[in-house]
Symmetry: C2
Subunit: 349 residues, 2 copies
């Protein structure tokens, strides 16, 4: 009576089955897990009873016993202040997707982590390892997990900033952002661009800072004036507005390279509305994972961060580390430039 009102009947445990079947806990456990060598009759009897009572092993208890949880944490830290705003960003969506798929292939589940919250609340979750994407500078989350002895995959900078434990429990997945940006700029230059403008996010993400640096260096080497529009945050309208300002500026660019996720069809519409034509009049390369880029007219050249491949690598690194296998300390990737019609022809026709 005292406990029946809480949750119908308290869940049936291993001992309940044992009692009902008239055997010991060990026998039940073995019978259900196919372990030990019991007579087939006993095994079957125990199974019947277990089924009849609706017995389900308690996952937490069995994990405590096993010493692992087969759960991986995933956190996207770029916009730490707003908890989980990856919604409109195709990149994060695909990353979550790919991470989950890769984890499942290794027998792990994925837990979406809070990016903010009371102190180190993330340590309360029973995780075997964590993948921290786009860590902020001196990221406390990376530090906390590493200090707790929980394997982490993040980028090199975050690991370097953390303490020495990083050497034993940290692995990295990183991007050669300078290489990628130069690849795009060189490509646009070859295609005839002389005034390449860039749209960047004013975020803490490594990518933006490194990319902007690389862009400025690249311009300096050629004695060109950099033209950058910074965005305060994600958001379609803000991005489109920034592009308009760029196009209407004193020295209109002949090529545009967006570093923030942007909806390719809408961007093209906006550009057309300003009276510019892609690619004849303006070359275009977008950093995006939005597959709509393939279907626009013209199809839009993109710089892709290969969420599928990087997530796969991250999970593999993490799982190797968790399961005690030696392996690479990390993997270096470069974003992939996929050239399509929006940047394929000379700008000065």
């Amino acid at each position: 009576m005292s406990q029946s009102d809480r949750s119908s009947v308290s869940r049936v445990r291993l001992v309940d089955v044992a009692r009902a079947a008239g055997v010991s806990k060990t026998t039940v456990s073995d019978a259900l897990n196919g372990a030990g060598r019991l007579p087939a009759a006993t095994r079957e009897h125990v199974r019947q009873v277990a089924r009849r009572l609706g017995y389900r092993p308690n996952a937490t208890a069995r994990l405590l016993r096993a010493g692992h949880t087969r759960l991986l944490g995933l956190a996207a830290r770029e916009y730490v202040e707003t908890p989980w705003v990856y919604a409109d960003l195709a990149y994060f969506g695909q990353l979550v997707n790919a991470t989950t798929r890769a984890a499942l292939a290794h027998g792990y589940g994925v837990v979406l982590l809070p990016t903010s919250g009371p102190d180190d609340c993330w340590l309360d979750m029973p995780l075997d390892g964590v993948f921290v994407v786009d860590p902020v500078a001196g990221d406390p989350m990376v530090g906390d997990f590493l200090a707790a002895g929980i394997p982490v995959v993040s980028d090199r900078r975050a690991l370097a900033e953390a303490v020495s434990e990083a050497q034993t429990a940290g692995r990295w997945v990183d991007f050669d952002n300078e290489y990628a940006v130069r690849q795009v700029l060189d490509h646009l230059e070859e295609a005839g661009a002389e005034r390449i403008a860039v749209v960047a996010g004013a975020t803490t993400a490594c990518f933006h800072q490194e990319s902007v640096d690389a862009y400025q260096d690249w311009c300096a080497e050629r004695g060109r004036e950099p033209s950058i529009a910074y965005l305060p945050g994600p958001g379609i309208q803000q991005t489109l507005d920034a592009v308009e300002r760029l196009l209407d500026g004193p020295v209109p660019p002949d090529a545009l390279f967006t570093l923030v996720e942007v909806n390719p069809p809408l961007l093209l519409d906006t550009i057309r509305k300003r009276g510019r034509s892609v690619p004849d009049d303006l070359l275009l390369v977008c950093t995006t994972e939005d597959s709509a880029a393939l279907y626009t007219d013209p199809p839009v050249s993109t710089l892709s961060f290969l969420p599928g491949e990087t997530a796969g690598a991250a999970v593999e690194l993490l799982v190797d580390r968790i399961e005690g296998r030696e392996g690479d300390p990390g993997r270096l990737f470069s974003a992939e430039l996929q050239i399509r019609a929006s940047s394929a022809f000379p700008a000065t026709a």
Copy 2:
């Protein structure tokens, strides 16, 4: 030596801290959790030692003790065969996002569940409750969790198909699809449409079946000939092709209602390319969560499934049930029609 090669040093436990500090386990636990009433000196001393040793409580053990995990499972079942293909679908992205946010607000984490796998592998995860979106007919996942006594939120049909446990541990979040579809059709009719064509997915999802039924009934009531294009699966190109076929068909529609997620800007491009103009020539309503619909020219009317609100309700229902609070058995929603310029003017200008 025997264990040092597995993971550097085995994690430091509560007893280790107790021994090092020269006190008992209880004292350490109390000191760290702010419980009990210890002299400030002892408390501080224990904390120092704990910090020095880098002690972190084992989450699994503490969860076993607590009797709950504060973890919610989330599964999207519409395309069960392909594990986690919600990538390109804005709806699932936002749903995951909203569920995670709502769960965190209640102090719960979210685990992304496999949609397929060895038998009832999902029961191995330490979950307090599960949110099963778009369950398939006779969904085994719903049945398994319910049988295991783990609270489930899904739709009414899934709960009804499961056994009687559903009454105690099941809650539902459901949509009045017929109402929503009729709302759209009525709206289009008022705006002057006479031949409304529909693009539907050939999936197991309740929504498509119920919607198509509602559409056919609606047409029958008016003695109109239904015009439906079925899609074998998700995919931008397939959708656009289907629309083209519809527009080029023997009796071109004067209004289009898409039930599958589609990229609004691309859809508009496609329509324009067939020489049709929205809304003068063709009214348009899209079932989508893609916020790009707001920024197209003209802005596209949408039917939204309110992922934010439904996820919030689902989590609340689940948490109430888990924490033993009485509450509604479920919540009925209707997709929301957001009327914009693409369907606001008479088709026959």
